[in-house]
Amino acid sequence: MGVSILGLAWHSLVNRRVSALLTVLAVALSVALFLGVEKARTAARAGFDQTISGTDLIVGAPSGQINLLLYSVFRLGNATSEISWPAYQRLTARDDVAWTVPISLGDSHRGFRVMGTTSAYFDHYKYGRSKPLTFSEGRAFDDIFEAVIGAQLARDLGYEIGTPMVLTHGLGTAGLSDHDNRPFRVVGILAPTGTPVDQTLHVPLEGITAMHVGWETGTRNPLADTLSESVIRSFDLTPKTVTAVFVGLVQKGTLLRTRRAINSDRQEPLLAIIPSQALAELWAVMGNAERLLLAISGFVVAVGLVSILTSLLTSLNERRREMSILRATGARPSHILFLMLAEAGGLGLAGGLIGMGLIQLIFSLTAPLLTASYGIALPGTGLSIIDGATLLTVTVAAILIGVGPALVALRRSLADGLSVKV
C-alpha cells in the first residue's frame, strides 16, 4: 500500500530514530521536571494548608501572626513572651469558646521539641481535612511524667512504649543533669500525620513545670537534683504561663467578633490569629521561592524545545534530497511545510506524553511509600488540567518552533529546482 503524508513524516523520523529519540528524551525530561515541580508545589501547598484544621483561633502573646503560627504550629523559633495562666483561664471561661488547649513550648529532647499540653489536645487538634490524631500504640498521658511521642521521633530515636526519658530544661541535648527524680516514660505513640506533630514530644503541662523545678532563677539550682520524685509531685505544678492556646468556638459565626474581643483584652495584651489566614500569609512569603522554581523549570522546558529546533535544523541538509524528490513527485509547498511541522509537533507531543507518563509513574511509586512512612498524602498529583495544558503548550510551541526550519526547507526545495543535491 501507499503511505500517507503523515506516514511519510513518521517513516522519515524513524529513519533518523537515534537523533529523534534523543530529542524526545530531552523534551520528556524537561516536561517531567516541570510537571514534577508543579505537582510537588500543589501537593506542598495542600499539605501545608492542612497542617492544622478544626482550630478556630490560636492565641499567644502579641508578636506577629506569622511568628505565632511558626512557633505554635510548626515549632519553629521561640515565643518572645508568654501569656499568663489567668489569661488562659479567662479565655476558657468565655461563653463563645467551646474548648481550649494550652501549649507550653521552649524545651527540647535530643533535637526534638517538647510540648506541654493537656490531654484535650489529642481530642481537639486536627490536621488534613479534619483528621484527628490517632495512637498507633498506647494512649494519651494522664500522669505528670507520662509522654506521648510523634511517629518520626519514635522511629528516629527508636523509642517504644515504656522507654524512660530524661527531660531537662533548655534546648540543648541531654547531658550533665541526667537524674531520675523526674522519670518520664513513653505511654503513647501517635500515627504519622505528615505534620510537625510527628516530631513532637508531648507531656502534661505539669510535667513541664516539674522539669523546671530548680531552674526558677534562670540558672540551675544545685539542690534541684536532690529533691525526690515525691517531693516534686507534692509541689503545685500548675504553670504560671503558657506559650499559646488553641481555641475552638461554639459557633464559627462569632469568629471575627471573638477574635477582636480577645485582641482588645484590657487586662493583658493578647494576639488571636485565624490559622488558615496566617497559613495563607506565610505561604505568600514562601510562594516567591516556589514561583521562582516554577519559572526555572519553565526555562528547562524551553531548552527542551530548543533541542527540537536543533534536531530540525541539523536534519535539513540530510533531507534536502528527500524534499526535492517529494517536490518532483508532486508534493506541494504545503506538503513540505506539513512534513516539517508534523515532525516538530510529533516530537513535542511524544516528549510531552512521555514526560507526563514519567512523572505519573514516579508519583505513583513514591506516594504509597510517603504515606506509609511519613503520613504525607500527595494531593493533586494525579492527572489534572495542568498536564493537559502543558501537553498542549509544548506541542503548539514545538509546531511554532518548526515554522522556521520548515520555511528554510521550503525555500530550498523551491530554489533547488529539479536538480537533486547530493
Partner: protein
C-alpha cells in the same frame, strides 16, 4: 492531422540569481506522444531547462506552454498541480526516498495527486499497477515490492524511479540523465523498456543526456547548445 503540441517554448530566457543568462531559447516544440532526446554538455543547462518545463523554476521572460498551460504565467499552485497530476520525473540518481519501500516509492505520486490515484484505482489499484509497471520494466520478483530501496542495484533503482514516473498515466515524462550511472548494457535495456512503457501509455518523453550516442533510440534529437542562443554567444570552450 497535425499532432497536438505537448510543450512549446518561445523566447525563453533564464538566469540563476547573480549569474549571466544561462538559457535563451527562441523556439522549442515537442508534439504529444513524441520521444525527444536532448543532448547537452555537463553544465549546459539541461536540468535547468527541465526545471522550467516542470514548473519548479520560472523563466525571466518568454512563454513555456506545457500541456496547454503557460508555466510562465501560471501561479505556483497551478504549476504544482500540473506537475503532480500530469508529469513524471526521473533523475540521474538518488531518485528514491531511502526510508520507503519499493512499493511506497512507486505509489508516492498517487498520494500527491488525486487524479493519478483515481486513474490507478480504475486500473486495479496501486499495488496491482505498481507490480505491472515494475514487471514491464523488468523487475518481476514479487518480493521486491516490500523491499527497502537501499538494497537495490543502481539499475534496479532507476527502473523503480521509471515506474514511479509512469504510475497514474502522466501525459509527460521528463528524464534527466537517468542512465548516466548505468553500464552500457543496462543503459540500453533501460531506455528500451522506458520507451516501450511511454509508448504504451501514449505519453510524451523528454530525455536529456550528455551522451549523444543515445540519440538513435528516440524519435527526434536536439542539441541544447545549438538551441540555446546564450550558449552560442558565450563561445563554450
Amino acid at each position: 492531422m497535425e499532432p497536438q503540441t505537448c510543450i512549446e517554448l518561445r523566447d525563453v530566457t533564464f538566469a540563476w540569481p547573480g549569474e549571466p543568462a544561462l538559457l535563451d531559447i527562441s523556439r522549442l516544440t515537442v508534439s504529444q506522444g513524441e520521444k525527444l532526446f536532448l543532448k547537452g554538455a555537463s553544465g549546459s543547462g539541461k536540468s535547468t531547462l527541465l526545471g522550467l518545463i516542470a514548473g519548479v523554476l520560472s523563466p525571466r521572460s518568454g512563454l513555456i506552454s506545457v500541456l496547454g498551460q503557460d508555466q510562465a504565467q501560471a501561479g505556483g499552485s497551478q504549476r504544482d498541480h500540473l506537475r503532480a497530476n500530469r508529469l513524471g520525473v526521473i533523475f540521474q540518481m538518488f531518485n528514491l526516498v531511502p526510508y520507503l519501500s519499493v512499493l511506497q516509492n512507486v505509489a508516492l505520486p498517487c498520494r500527491f495527486s488525486p487524479d493519478r490515484a483515481r486513474r490507478v484505482s480504475e486500473n486495479g489499484g496501486v499495488t496491482a499497477e505498481a507490480r505491472r509497471l515494475l514487471a514491464q520494466l523488468g523487475l518481476h520478483e514479487p518480493s521486491l515490492l516490500s523491499r527497502s530501496v537501499s538494497a537495490l542495484s543502481v539499475g534496479q533503482q532507476q527502473r523503480v524511479a521509471a515506474a514511479r514516473a509512469l504510475i497514474g498515466q502522466p501525459d509527460l515524462v521528463i528524464a534527466d540523465e537517468p542512465t548516466s550511472a548505468l553500464d552500457a548494457d543496462s543503459r540500453d535495456r533501460f531506455i528500451a523498456l522506458l520507451n516501450a512503457q511511454v509508448e504504451a501509455s501514449g505519453a510524451t518523453l523528454v530525455f536529456v543526456s550528455h551522451d549523444g550516442g543515445l540519440a538513435g533510440q528516440f524519435d527526434r534529437a536536439l542539441d541544447l547548445t545549438t538551441l540555446n542562443r546564450a550558449a552560442r554567444r558565450q563561445r563554450t570552450d
